[in-house]
Symmetry: C2
Subunit: 338 residues, 2 copies
């Protein structure tokens, strides 16, 4: 079985976007706009249609089985509006993911976004996490380390601001994938630099903090192959050493995992050369940042299974990367996927 | 001959730091403080002492010959004070580099920092660049894409704000190394995440812009092995393709170069697997971000010559990386190093 730990609902029916545009219009008239959650009317057939020629077809073509599926990351847009905006939007997005997983329980397992908002307390995010996991069977959560959308003016992941969320993640036994949303800062390209920079930034914050000493059970997945981290593994090993920290495997590798959203063979080979197989989770993020076909291979850039298949790995390591690591990091999968 | 294209004067005599502390003290009393350039009294013997047991010893031990030497990057601190602060500090730092190169013309060639300052015009930087190149024989410049120190609130590299600087770089025939300074934003670790994130961000800005169409002769070196770029080369190839841009080699590789400041073999192997040898410049950034000895190899992490020596390269490629690319990218080296 092949579990893809990183997929977003990038093909959701248009009504979802319409709802968001209405939110933005109300905020343009009044930035303090509260409004109400309201409803989004999407039929089951529309959900099926949005997936069957897209993610489901690609699962079949690529021979992957189950995708950990969360709302579209670039649309989380935590910087938009206020805490109410983010709450209503997030609840709708998560509920839509639940419906997807109800329709295709063999193909998708639900991962939630959180109603973060710049300058807002973390407690509403804890509340939504509990609702998603306890009441709706979610198996993980995406946590945005920079809800400002590229201005980086909030508290780093080492800050105690985040501790109630870490407590809840541990108690509920679900991991966090650290994943920013769209950049609203013109310095950053959302998928080209903001995502990768945030991955690296989050890793370094965790490396230099006491988060895992305080939460030894906390599990964090760094997406996009860990940003720049595996490529610069020697740099990070050396920085930890200069700080008098233990070796990285002792310091972090009980808690930090990297996905395989690296869209060429040489990058995947680098990832697998430096990160132990126990800490690598298969992922493609399809249909996501890069949608084309690589003229060098004739296959989609994000068909990452091919790179793992072609990598120099033993069968035991490949099984870990394709399935058993995901089951260990996301233990609540046990309840939803055999 | 082996040219190290990336070294900073991290071991400068204490008087330099004393001058900076006096600047900061004056600014603490009055943020608008102008003051005067003043003098920094450092003897030639103090300069010699600061280098002979440090960079010069390591050059000899590691068998490298010439270092392109610039002021300490983390001390550029463009976010500190105002345009006057930055001007006086930059002039002193550059003049000290000139003295180093006068004392050791076989070992060091000068690269300048610029008097950037958040919100300030670019013209003073153009002026200092001209002073350094025309009057003091400098061969390159470090350009900080984020003088705010991690708040990223200035214009991206695609913005016409930068064009007078690009014009001067082309006219003077010197390259820019894109290099941020210390982060004052607690979200970022200077050498662990800010440097690498800035490298990736700058590359993506150049990829998605018209800078090289407007300045076909402009040459930009992305340090630290290009941040996350080579590791994610497939992602960047795919993003360019999705944008309808030409292939990256056509789009950028006439203008963009990557250094080898990647502190482990697997990372260097990834760099060399994806970036053509014509676009890779040897560099170590010693004595810099990572100062320890790697217990896995018994050698310094930043002894990057060993990784290049061990890489699968032909002699012609290795010669390009060690010497001839640097001479092509920094043509003014001809006047200072035979």
């Amino acid at each position: 079985m092949i579990i893809d730990c990183h997929g977003h609902y990038t093909t959701a029916p248009g009504q979802l976007g319409d709802y968001r545009e209405a939110q933005k219009a109300a905020l343009a008239a009044d930035p303090e706009h509260v409004g109400a959650k309201g409803t989004i009317s999407i039929g089951d057939d529309e959900i099926r249609e949005s997936l069957e020629r897209a993610q489901l077809r690609l699962q079949q073509e690529r021979g992957t089985d189950l995708t950990l599926f969360s709302p579209r990351a670039s649309w989380m847009g935590h910087h938009i509006g206020n805490i109410h905006t983010s709450r209503f939007w997030t609840e709708h997005c998560n509920e839509l993911i639940r419906r997807v997983c109800d329709l295709y329980p063999q193909n998708f397992a639900p991962v939630c976004q959180l109603p973060q908002s710049p300058g807002a307390p973390i407690e509403p995010s804890v509340h939504e996490l509990r609702r998603c996991v306890d009441e709706m069977g979610f198996v993980g959560a995406n946590v945005n380390p920079d809800p400002s959308g590229g201005y980086w003016d909030g508290p780093p992941l080492a800050d105690r601001y985040w501790y109630p969320l870490y407590e809840a993640l541990c108690e509920l036994n679900v991991p966090a994938m650290v994943h920013v949303s769209a950049a609203c800062n013109p310095q950053f390209h959302t998928t080209g630099s903001h995502y990768l920079g945030a991955d690296t930034t989050a890793f370094m914050q965790l490396l230099s903090s006491d988060v895992f000493a305080d939460f030894p059970e906390l599990r964090v997945v760094i997406p996009h192959g860990g940003g720049a981290v595996p490529y610069h593994w020697g740099r990070f090993r050396g920085l930890a050493q200069d700080m008098g920290k233990p070796a990285l495997d002792e310091l972090l590798l009980g808690n930090v995992f990297f996905d395989t959203c690296v869209y060429h063979q040489a990058g995947i080979d680098c990832l697998l050369a430096v990160i132990p197989a126990d800490n690598v989770l298969f992922a493609s993020e399809m249909i996501g940042a890069v949608r084309g076909v690589d003229p060098e291979t004739g296959h989609h850039y994000d068909d990452t299974r091919r790179y793992i298949d072609a990598a120099r790995l033993g069968d035991a390591e490949r099984t870990k990367i394709f399935e058993t690591n995901a089951r260990r990091v996301y233990p609540r999968l046990e309840g939803v996927a055999a």
